[in-house]
């Protein structure tokens, strides 16, 4: 039987991470390891995590400093790979998987691969908000032939990119494509990674695998929402996406992104000082081009 390591990255999420871990531990498909990467939390999250360490499957990996979601997922995936996991299952610390979420991902991926007669890059869940609506931020993008598996009676959709909120990667994907770019720190790391790995084959969204993302407000990424309070995330987002569009998709994609950014900032009446800061980040993306690291084969 295949081995699975869940990877949860947490930062100052004392109130929610416990429920995430409870839901993971209660999966109908038992996990071999639950790797919790603590991004140097300061709010007592470490104490919550300590209470789970009695379970031998739980490995708490506390980083010396906050390395963002990108650095945390990279470290956790690397650890899972070193432990010999056949799959890594990634999610945020405010993600609540339904009891059969993993089982549905695993069986959905296997059936999809059988139907497609080819290995696929990953399987991701359907992500809902706490009110049962679809979660705006975690919608995957579909391929041109997204309904191919549905035509065969499977409740799966072929996708290109998705978020790191309940996504299952086979080990071979990490071997071939490496780890997420930890230099991204936060935002667009999941998009870049899933776009990178789907160069070989699409991913699949298993609609029967459901998770709830308890993210406070159900909003997708829109530059019209930029404010002084949320500016730090958008700064990373603009730099990372600009870098990706330019270095991996070409000048045209970069220009298109710049136009979209300008349009959304204009539509949201974002303050000019913030717009200038984001313009600087857009320019920073021209020289910012990190390369992936690869995990080490230990077991």
């Amino acid at each position: 039987m295949s081995t699975v390591a869940a990877v949860v990255v947490t930062y100052n999420r004392q109130a929610k991470v416990g429920e995430t871990l409870d839901r993971i531990l209660a999966q109908t498909r038992a996990l071999d390891w639950i790797i919790v990467v603590d991004n140097a939390s300061t709010d007592g999250t470490d104490q919550v995590l300590a209470s789970y360490c009695a379970d031998r499957r739980v490995i708490v990996y506390r980083l010396q400093r906050n390395m963002g979601g990108a650095g945390g997922f990279s470290a956790g995936m690397s650890r899972g790979y070193e432990l010999g996991a056949d799959f890594v299952w990634l999610m945020d610390d405010d993600c609540y998987p339904s009891p059969d979420a993993l089982e549905e991902l695993e069986t959905g991926l296997a059936k999809a691969e059988e139907a497609m007669a080819m290995p696929l890059s990953y399987a991701c869940s359907q992500v809902k908000f706490v009110d049962g609506e679809i979660c705006e931020m975690n919608n995957p993008s579909t391929t041109w032939d997204w309904g191919r598996l549905m035509a065969l009676g499977q409740e799966c959709v072929l996708v290109t990119n998705c978020s790191f909120v309940s996504v299952l990667f086979p080990r071979r994907v990490l071997t071939r494509f490496g780890l997420p770019l930890k230099e991204y720190f936060i935002w667009f790391d999941d998009q870049e990674y899933t776009l990178r790995v789907t160069r070989a084959a699409p991913g699949v969204q298993c609609l029967r695998s459901v998770v709830v993302h308890d993210m406070g407000v159900n909003r997708g990424v829109n530059f019209a929402d930029v404010s002084a309070e949320n500016m730090f995330k958008f700064r990373y987002g603009v730099r990372n996406e600009a870098s990706y569009r330019l270095h991996h998709q070409g000048v045209g994609a970069f220009v298109k992104f710049a136009v979209r950014l300008a349009q959304q900032l204009h539509a949201g009446h974002v303050a000019w000082p913030l717009r200038i800061q984001l313009l600087r980040k857009l320019i920073e993306g021209v020289t910012f081009n990190p390369k992936p690291e690869y995990p080490r084969s230990v077991l």
Partner: protein, 548 residues
């Protein structure tokens, strides 16, 4: 088939009519030693298989020291030889391999001249580089081995970057599922093995183990080597019941086919196990086309930086191989993740208990009162970079004169260089030990083992050191991360390696707690690694299935 049963009589596919100097009838009356005699028998078997029923006259030459045998290549048909060769034997024999056309039994005598080479020099590709380029490289290499190595590592970096993500192009498969035979096979069951050479090495040690397992399972091991070598291990007891054929190149293509046809008609070959043998790899598509029913496996140990080595050869020829046996997680991941081979075709089975019993000694006392003993164990070969160990020893001695003791345990093609550098660095206290002393004795004295290799699969030395309770400082290459504490892994580049290794060895000498902490981590890794499937039982079961 004349299966001579005495311990000294290897399996022969010929009837000996007369001989002089070789000592096959009376070894005490021969001019050849046992190794040379086995080489001659190997050559005679090859020609007996290639020319069924043929009368053969074989003249045996011995070359000057430093020359390699010529046993099966085109030169054996020349009855004129170089002035530095001495004739040391002559034999007349008749091949007992049955010709397919019994009516056309040849009656004339075929004259052959084989050369057993001179002495047990170690085989090396490096020394055989031809022309002025080879001479320049050899000169640069001997004058400044570490600087030369630094350039080599830079080249490795470039090639590795260029080849990153490259998929190896695979050969088309053989679609035949039934063999076409001129006659039924009624020979003894056999397993065909392909080896690099019969010299000291981890892959060769494993190959001999598998040969013994095949013999134990009731098969005749047929062992083919293809690399230029004096084959010092040809006298090993594991080969006692084997048909050993050390090939030398270039061979006549017609003779190659005749040889393989002879094997297929003489033996009931139940399986093929390729260890490291380029010639046999390249002939697998032909063998699969002739006998698609014969299962084929290979054992893979190490991926070469620049060429991919046997690993990439195996990927290229994967359509002619049923199962790839890999000895390390790194190779498993490379084959499945990087090259896209089906997971069910890759078998990870480790050599964790090949030279140890997996027990670990943890109650060793450190040499705190005496000097701190730093040890190198391995072949004196380019891959192992013994010159880096010597430079490291020189650095450590400069740092703390009299506090360290050094032992180098091994032998090989760079033995001369090791002695030269020892003198050049003034390392009078460094002790060099040959293979006549058991490695266990050296490890029992060691406080730390240093592995300087340019490339590795997973060193048997790491297993042995862990079993002896000795921490290992190693370059971070191949799968060494599986058995080495993270803090004791060093960069591959020579200068960075020397800096890191010096720091780590000094840290262990000055802090027994630090040394114990690293050793504990090494033991945890070794314990986890030991839970992976082992190669011996897997291969044993596989062979038994083949021979059922």
């Amino acid at each position: 088939m004349d299966e001579q049963s005495t311990e000294h009589r290897p399996l022969a596919l010929f009837e000996l009519l007369d001989e002089s100097g070789i000592g096959l009838i009376d070894s005490s009356a021969g001019l050849l030693d046992e190794r040379e005699r086995r080489l001659v028998v190997g050559a005679a078997n090859f020609h007996a298989l290639a020319a069924p029923g043929q009368l053969l006259r074989i003249i045996v030459l011995r070359g000057p020291w430093g020359t390699f045998p010529a046993l099966t290549d085109r030169t054996v048909h020349h009855i004129e030889w170089a002035g530095d060769r001495e004739a040391v034997g002559s034999m007349v024999l008749r091949s007992v391999v049955q010709p397919l056309n019994a009516v056309a039994r040849p009656t004339s005598i075929l004259g052959l001249v084989v050369d057993v080479g001179g002495g047990t020099k170690f085989g090396t590709l490096y020394r055989s580089l031809p022309g002025w380029q080879g001479q320049v490289r050899r000169t640069a290499r001997s004058l400044a081995p570490i600087q030369f190595d630094a350039l080599r590592q830079l080249r490795t970096d470039v090639v590795e970057r260029l080849l990153a993500g490259r998929g190896v192009k695979r050969r088309a498969s053989t679609r035949l599922n039934r063999s076409t035979r001129p006659g039924g096979t009624s020979g003894p069951p056999a397993v065909l093995f392909g080896l690099h050479w019969l010299e000291l090495g981890g892959a060769e040690r494993w190959a001999l183990d598998t040969i013994q397992m095949a013999a134990d399972a009731g098969a005749t091991p047929i062992v083919i080597t293809d690399r230029e070598s004096n084959n010092p291990w040809i006298t090993k007891p594991e080969l006692a019941s084997a048909l050993v054929v050390p090939l030398t190149h270039p061979m006549d293509p017609a003779t190659e086919a005749a040889f393989l046809n002879g094997l297929l008609e003489t033996f009931d070959i139940r399986g093929i196990h390729v260890h490291h043998n380029a010639w046999l790899y390249q002939r697998l598509p032909w063998l699969r086309a002739v006998r698609p029913d014969i299962p084929v496996i290979d054992s893979l140990h190490i991926r070469e930086w620049r060429t991919g080595g046997f690993v990439d050869t195996a990927v290229r020829l994967s359509s002619a191989i049923d199962t790839h046996h890999v000895v390390s997680p790194a190779l498993r991941d490379y084959m499945i993740g990087r090259q896209g081979l089906p997971a069910e075709k890759i078998k990870l089975a480790t050599l964790a208990n090949l030279t140890t019993d997996n027990s670990i000694t943890m109650d060793r006392q450190l040499g705190i009162d005496g000097p701190f003993t730093v040890v190198f164990v391995g072949r004196f070969a380019q891959q192992k970079r013994p010159y880096l160990f010597l430079r490291l020893a020189a650095r450590l001695r400069e740092h703390a004169p009299g506090k360290f003791r050094f032992v180098m345990h091994g032998d090989g093609e760079l033995a001369d260089e090791v002695h030269l550098l020892k003198a050049r660095f003034g390392l009078d206290a460094l002790q060099i030990r040959g293979p006549e002393i058991p490695v266990a004795h050296t490890l029992a004295e060691a406080d730390v083992v240093v592995i300087c290799s340019d490339n590795e699969g997973l060193t048997l030395t790491s297993f042995e050191a862990t079993a002896a309770g000795v921490p290992v400082v190693s370059t971070d290459v191949g799968s060494q991360v599986s058995l080495t504490a993270d803090g004791l892994l060093c960069p591959r580049h020579p200068y960075r390696f020397l800096d890191a290794a010096t720091t780590k060895v000094i840290a262990m000498m000055t802090s027994p707690d630090q040394r114990k902490s690293w050793l504990d981590e090494q033991v945890v890794k070794a314990t986890a690694f030991a839970k992976l499937p082992l190669a011996r039982p897997w291969v044993r079961d596989l062979y038994q299935g083949w021979l059922r």
